[in-house]
C-alpha cells in the first residue's frame, strides 16, 4: 500500500540563503495492505513531513514513493483522491455546522451520495443529534471525531492519522482511540503518527521509529525482543544459591538475576525452554509460586532506542 525508496526532504532554512534543514533522510519503508503501521519519533523527527510527502502535499527533495498504487509526483491528484488524512489539528470550519463541514469535503472528494455518506458517519460517531450546530461550539473530542469522519467520507483504502489523540482530555482520547480501534478491524490500511506509546502498542501491527532517518521497524513485540531479548520471572517461596546455580547451568540461559524472592532469567525460545527451567528448579527442591514473561513497555523500548541513536550520533 505504501512503498518508499530513499525518500528525503530538505527545507530551505528561514532567513539563511543556500542553507537547508534536513527533515527526512533516505526513508525506506513498506506498509502492507490492511496493516496498521505506527510511526514514532520525537518532535521534529520528520513524522508530519513524511505524512505530507505521502499525501502528495509536499514534494520529496530526493527519492521515490508509491501510495495506494500511485507514484508521488506524477500521480499526486490520484493519491489525494485515494487517501484520507487526519491532520495534527482538526482544521474544521467553526462558522459552519457539522453537516456543512462534511458535505463540503464530500463534494471535493466527488462522493456520489453526499447526504447519505454524511449521515452515515455522523450517526456512526454519535454526532447526528448535533448535526446542525456550529462546529465552533463542539468540544475538542467531538471536533476530532468529526475530523476523522471527514477523512473517511470517500471511503479511502488508506488513512493517515497524525497525532489523533494529541491535546484531548483522557476521556475524549479514549473515545477517539476506541473508534480508531473499531476502524482498524475493517481492513483499511492505517498510517498512525503518535507520541502516545500505549496507543501505538495497542493499535499497531508494526511500528517504525524515526528521527530524520528510520531507526527501526518491527512489530511491538519484535522491538522489545530485539532490544531486551526474552525474559522470564519466576517467584519462589525462598531463593537459594543452588536454585540459581541449577538455572545458570542450563545451556540456553543467558543471564540469571535473583532478588525479592524472584529469579529473572534471560533465555532463548521461552516456549520450548521454560519447562526445562521449571524442571531444573523443582529438581533442586525449589517451591515455584508463579512463572511469567517479563514484558518491557514500549515506552522503555522507545526511550532506549532514542538514547542509542543519540550515543551513535555523538560517537
Amino acid at each position: 500500500m505504501i512503498r518508499t525508496e530513499a525518500l528525503t526532504k530538505r527545507f530551505p532554512a528561514a532567513g539563511r540563503k543556500g542553507v537547508e534543514n534536513l527533515a527526512v533522510e533516505g526513508l525506506k519503508l513498506e506498509v502492507k495492505k490492511g496493516e496498521v503501521f505506527g510511526f514514532l519519533g520525537p518532535n521534529g523527527a520528520g513524522k508530519t513531513t513524511t505524512v505530507r510527502m505521502l499525501c502528495a502535499l509536499i514534494a520529496p527533495t530526493e527519492g521515490s514513493a508509491w501510495v495506494a498504487g500511485y507514484k508521488v509526483g506524477p500521480d499526486n491528484d490520484a493519491i489525494r483522491a485515494n487517501v484520507g488524512i487526519l491532520t495534527e489539528t482538526p482544521g474544521l470550519y467553526a462558522r459552519l455546522d457539522a453537516v456543512a463541514n462534511l458535505s463540503f469535503f464530500a463534494k471535493l472528494y466527488g462522493v456520489s451520495d453526499v447526504s447519505g455518506q454524511v449521515a452515515k458517519y455522523l450517526k456512526m460517531l454519535g454526532l447526528w443529534e448535533r448535526r446542525n450546530e456550529l462546529v465552533g461550539s463542539f468540544s475538542k473530542g467531538m471536533q476530532q471525531k468529526l475530523a476523522i469522519a471527514r477523512a473517511l467520507l470517500h471511503e479511502p483504502p488508506l488513512l493517515f492519522l497524525d497525532e489523533p489523540t494529541a491535546g484531548l482530555d483522557p476521556e475524549s482520547a479514549r473515545v477517539v482511540r476506541d473508534y480508531i480501534e473499531e476502524l482498524c478491524g475493517e481492513g483499511r490500511t492505517f498510517f498512525l503518527c503518535t507520541h502516545n506509546l500505549n496507543e501505538a502498542d495497542r493499535l499497531c501491527d508494526r511500528i517504525g521509529v524515526i528521527k530524520q532517518r528510520l531507526i527501526r521497524v518491527d512489530t511491538p513485540q519484535g522491538l522489545r525482543t530485539s532490544l531486551y531479548g526474552h525474559e522470564v520471572s519466576i517467584r519462589l517461596r525462598a531463593v537459594a544459591p543452588e536454585h540459581v546455580a541449577a538455572v545458570q547451568a542450563l545451556p540456553f540461559v543467558q543471564e540469571v538475576r535473583s532478588g525479592d524472592g524472584r529469579l529473572s532469567v534471560k533465555l532463548d525460545d521461552p516456549e520450548t525452554n521454560n519447562p526445562r527451567v521449571v524442571r531444573a528448579l523443582v529438581s533442586t527442591g525449589a517451591d515455584i509460586q508463579f512463572v511469567e514473561e517479563v514484558e518491557h513497555s514500549l515506552e522503555s523500548v522507545y526511550l532506549d532506542l532514542m538514547a542509542q541513536t543519540r550515543e551513535a550520533a555523538a560517537a
Binding site: C55, L92, R95, L108, A147
Partner: protein
C-alpha cells in the same frame, strides 16, 4: 469506492479541472461570509455610504442653488464637452463624473476584505491543510477563492450604480441624469469593476502569503484607493472628460496589471509554499 462517476477521471485516476469542486468551495466561502458580521457590515455600508454621498450632495447642492446661495460653480473649470450646458448643470455633471470613480472603491475594497478573511482565516483556523489534502487542484482553489470574493463585490457595484441612477432620476434634471447613465459609464462599470475586483483579490492572495492578520491585509485597500482618488481629482479639475476610448485603454492597463498580479499570486499559491512557508 463511493467516488462520483460524474467527475471524470484521467488514466491515473486524477480528475481534470472540475467546476463541481470550484462551486463547492464558492458555496462554502459564501456560507462562511454570511456568518461573518465584519464582512456583512462592510458589504452593506460601503455601497450605501457611496450612493448616499452622491445623491445627498446633488440634492443639497440643487436645493441650495434654488435658494439662491452661491455654489462657486463659476470657479470650477468646465471641460469643453460640457461648455454648451448651463453653468450650474455642467457643475453638477462635473461633480458626478468625479463621484463615478468612487463607485470603483466597491470592487477594489470589498473583494480584498473577503479574500483576506477567506485565505488568512484558513491559515489561522488551520483548515488549509485538510483542504489541500483533497483532490482539488491549485487552479481550482484559486479560481474558487477569486470568484467567491469578486462576484459579490462586482454585483454590489452594479446594484449600487443602478440604485444611484434610479435616485438621480428623481434628484437631478434629465440632462444631468443622462451624463451619469451614458454608455461610457455603463461600459466602465461592466468592464472595469470585474478587472479591479480581480486585481484586489490577487493582491489579497499575495499579501496573505506574508501576513497573518486579515485587518493588515485589508489596509492595502488604501493603496488601491489612491490612484482612483487621483484620477477623480483630475476629472474634477476639468482636465479630462471620460470617453469610451479612455475606458477601454484603462481596462487594458488594468488587465495587464491583473496578469502580472496573477503570475505572482499563482507563484505564492502553491501547496508546498502555503503549507511550509505561510506562517
Amino acid at each position: 469506492m463511493n467516488v462520483n462517476a460524474a467527475s471524470p477521471r484521467s488514466r491515473n485516476g486524477a480528475s481534470p479541472f472540475s467546476w463541481h469542486r470550484v462551486w463547492a468551495v464558492i458555496e462554502k466561502e459564501w456560507a462562511e461570509s454570511r456568518r461573518n458580521k465584519m464582512i456583512l457590515w462592510t458589504m452593506a455600508l460601503v455601497p450605501l455610504f457611496l450612493v448616499a454621498m452622491v445623491l445627498g450632495t446633488d440634492y443639497f447642492m440643487i436645493r441650495a442653488e434654488a435658494k439662491g446661495q452661491d455654489m462657486d460653480e463659476d470657479e470650477m473649470p468646465i471641460p469643453e464637452q460640457l461648455q454648451h450646458l448651463p453653468r450650474f448643470e455642467a457643475f453638477i455633471i462635473q461633480m458626478n463624473e468625479q463621484y463615478m470613480f468612487y463607485m470603483f472603491i466597491i470592487p477594489m475594497m470589498l473583494p480584498v476584505y473577503i479574500a483576506a478573511y477567506s485565505i488568512i482565516g484558513e491559515k489561522q483556523t488551520k483548515t488549509l491543510e485538510p483542504l489541500l489534502a483533497t483532490p482539488i487542484s491549485t487552479w481550482e482553489l484559486l479560481a474558487a477563492k477569486t470568484i467567491a470574493a469578486t462576484s459579490p463585490a462586482v454585483v454590489l457595484t452594479w446594484i449600487s450604480y443602478a440604485v444611484m441612477l434610479v435616485g438621480l432620476r428623481f434628484v437631478v434634471s434629465p440632462t444631468v441624469f443622462f451624463y451619469s447613465a451614458r454608455a461610457v459609464w455603463i461600459l466602465a462599470m461592466l468592464l472595469l469593476s470585474p478587472l479591479l475586483a480581480f486585481l484586489s483579490v490577487l493582491s489579497g492572495v499575495i499579501v496573505s502569503s506574508r501576513i497573518n492578520d486579515p485587518r493588515t491585509a485589508q489596509q492595502i485597500t488604501g493603496v488601491f484607493i489612491v490612484p482612483i482618488i487621483s484620477v477623480s481629482l483630475v476629472v474634477l479639475a476639468g482636465k479630462v472628460f471620460v470617453s469610451v476610448q479612455m475606458v477601454i485603454y484603462a481596462a487594458m492597463v488594468v488587465l495587464i496589471v491583473d496578469l502580472v498580479a496573477l503570475y505572482f499570486a499563482v507563484k505564492v499559491f502553491q501547496r508546498e509554499t502555503i503549507l511550509t512557508r505561510w506562517k
